[in-house]
Symmetry: C2
Subunit: 330 residues, 2 copies
C-alpha cells in the first residue's frame, strides 16, 4: 500500500520536464500544483482573460495540502507560464493533460490541434470523466496516442487515476500513462473496457442513489447517514475495498462462503428492496434544507480544508503519502 | 470526530457492571471482548457444549486488536463466566446483548424468556441485522423494552452501532441504548424508521451490486476494483461521508449546486446505466477465481489481522480510538 517513490520512479519522472495543462479550472489547477511540486515545469492554456489570477489564487489554496503531503512547495510559480495559443502551448512538452469542458466536439477540436503541435514522444491524456477516448480520438490522425487519465477530484490529493484506453489507443501509450502517473505518486488503474462513468463514479453513483432514497424516505438525515458511513463502510473501504471486506466477512471460507450464504440473500432480499429515488421538488428541498443544517456552519472552502487535513492524516497513517525525500528534483 | 470517553461517559458506564451475551458466535465474542475490556463483567449464554473453548479461542484472537485500540486487556477472562440456562444468565445483569441465529420464532422465544428473567432496569438489545424489533417484540409483555443495537462487524473494532427502535420501543429505551453504546466508546446512530437491512448494510449492498456487475462485465478484476475504491471513494467516505463529499464537490455552491449540475445528470445518465447482476454460475465462478488470485496468499485470519491493524492506524489518525486513560476501570 506504500506509494513512496522508488529510484526507478524518479527516473521515470525525469523524462517529464515540461507539461501543458489545457484548461485552468479546479482540476487543471490541482494537476498544475502537483506537477509543479513534483518538479515538472507547467504551461497553462486557457482562453479566459483572468486565467492568471484564477490559477494563482487556486494554487495558493492547495499549497498547504501539497506541503502537508510532504512535497516541496517553495517558488512553485517560478516554473509556471501561461500561453493562450494552444499549438504553441503544447509545442515543447512531454505531457499534455487536458481538462476542457465536457463537450465532445470541443474536445475533438482541441485534440486535433494538439496532436499536430505536440512532440511525437509526448503523453496525450484527457481528464474527462464522461467522454470515452474512442469518441474523442475519432477526429485524430493518430488515435493510438490518446488516452483518458481521469483523476478523482482533487488530483493533487486523491491517489486514484483511472486510465481508460480507447479502442485504438496503443499498448505503448497505456504503459507510458501508467509509468507517468505512478512516477507522479498516483495510484493508476487501467480499465479493461470503456464504460459510462468509468468505475469510481459508477460506484459512487450507486451508493449515492441509495443515500438519496434513505434521506427522502426519512430513515436518516444527511448528517446521520454521513456519520453512519464514516463510522463503518467508509473506514472499511479505505483499508480494504468491498471484495476484500466481504472475503474477510465470509469467515474462514472467504468470498465463496460469503457469496453462498450472504450474497445470495443479498440478491434475493436486499437488491430488489433498494430505492429508486428521483430529484423531484420535495426530495431536492429536503436535501437542500438538511445540507444547510449539516454543513451551514462553515464555507465550503473551510470545510474542504478540514476534510483535506483529515484525509492527509489518514493517508499518512496508511503509508499513502508521497516520500518527500524523493519527491523533489529542484 | 473524537470519541474519547468523557467523565460523563465513564459515569454512564459505571451503572453497567454486568452484561449477558446471548450467543457466543463471532459477534457475541467480539461484544464480550469489548465489554470485558471496558470493565463490564460478562456472562455468556450459548447452548453449545464446546462454547467455553470457542469463546476463549475467539477472545485470544481479538485481544491484540483491543490492546492496539488502547484498551486494557489483562486478565479479561477473570470476569467472564458461562451459564447454559438463559433465565439464570440474565437474572442479575444491566445489559442483555443478544446475538442468536437470525430466525424470528427463535428470537421471539428467547426474548420472552429474557424479559421475564432480567432485572427491570436492564437494557435489552438485539444485534440482529435483519429482523425488526417490532417483529421480535410481538411476543413480549413489555415490547417497549426491546431495541435493536446492530453492530457493524466486528463490534470491538468498527465504531458504528445502528440503534433501531421498534414501533413500541419507548423513548426511554432509545436514550438508554444511546447512552450505553456511547459510553462504551461506540458511535451509535438512531434510525428514524425500521427498513430492511437498516442503513449501513443497504448502502453496502447497493455499492456491491455495481461491484459485481463491473467484475462480471470484465471492466475490472476484484483486486483492481478494490484498489480503485481504497484509493478514492473509500478514503473520501472514511473522512467525510457521501453527502459531505458531494457538498464539497459542488464548489462554493455546495450541495444545491451539486444536485443541479451533477445530481440531475447522475439521475438521467448514470443511475439507469447501473448494473443488475445475478449470482449465476458464470458470475460466481469468476468471483471465486478472482478471489483466489487476489486473496489466496494468506488465510482469512491473517488477512483480517492485517486489515484490523491498518484500520486501527486509520482510526488513530482520525482521533477515533478510545482514550486508554479513561477507558479502564479496573
Amino acid at each position: 500500500m506504500n506509494t513512496t517513490s522508488t529510484p526507478a520512479q524518479a527516473t521515470a519522472l525525469d523524462s517529464y520536464r515540461r507539461a501543458a495543462i489545457i484548461g485552468g479550472g479546479v482540476i487543471g489547477i490541482s494537476w498544475a500544483g502537483l506537477f509543479l511540486a513534483r518538479g515538472i515545469d507547467v504551461v497553462i492554456n486557457d482562453p479566459r482573460a483572468d486565467i492568471e489570477d484564477l490559477v494563482l489564487a487556486g494554487l495558493d489554496e492547495i499549497t498547504p495540502a501539497l506541503a502537508e503531503l510532504g512535497l516541496p512547495t517553495e517558488n512553485l510559480t517560478e516554473r509556471l507560464t501561461f500561453e493562450a495559443d494552444l499549438a504553441t502551448a503544447v509545442a515543447d512538452v512531454n505531457i499534455v493533460q487536458e481538462n476542457g469542458p465536457e463537450r465532445l466536439e470541443l474536445k475533438q477540436q482541441i485534440w486535433q490541434t494538439i496532436e499536430r503541435a505536440a512532440p511525437a514522444h509526448a503523453l496525450l491524456a484527457s481528464s474527462t470523466s464522461s467522454i470515452p477516448a474512442t469518441a474523442i480520438a475519432k477526429a485524430m490522425q493518430q488515435p493510438e496516442r490518446l488516452i483518458v487519465g481521469h483523476p478523482f477530484n482533487p488530483p493533487h490529493l486523491v491517489p486514484l487515476v483511472e486510465i481508460v484506453p480507447g479502442k485504438k489507443t496503443s499498448a505503448a501509450t497505456v504503459e507510458q500513462a501508467k509509468a507517468f502517473y505512478t512516477a507522479l505518486g498516483k495510484k493508476p488503474q487501467v480499465l479493461r473496457k470503456e464504460v459510462p462513468g468509468f468505475v469510481a463514479n459508477r460506484l459512487q453513483s450507486a451508493l449515492f442513489r441509495e443515500c438519496v432514497h434513505l434521506v427522502a424516505q426519512g430513515v436518516v438525515t444527511e448528517q446521520e447517514l454521513d456519520e453512519i458511513v464514516t463510522a463503518s463502510i467508509g473506514m472499511r473501504w479505505a483499508v480494504g475495498g468491498p471484495f476484500r471486506t466481504f472475503h474477510l466477512g465470509g469467515g474462514p471460507g472467504g468470498l465463496p462462503h460469503f457469496i453462498e450464504h450472504l450474497g445470495r440473500a443479498m440478491e434475493a432480499n436486499m437488491w430488489p428492496a433498494l430505492g429508486n429515488p428521483t430529484f423531484d421538488d420535495t426530495t431536492v428541498a429536503t436535501l437542500i434544507d438538511q445540507a444547510r443544517e449539516a454543513f451551514g456552519d462553515g464555507t465550503v472552502e473551510e470545510l474542504a480544508a478540514d476534510r483535506d487535513r483529515a484525509q492527509i492524516a489518514l493517508m499518512r497513517a496508511l503509508g499513502e503519502t508521497p516520500d518527500s525525500g524523493s519527491a523533489g528534483r529542484a
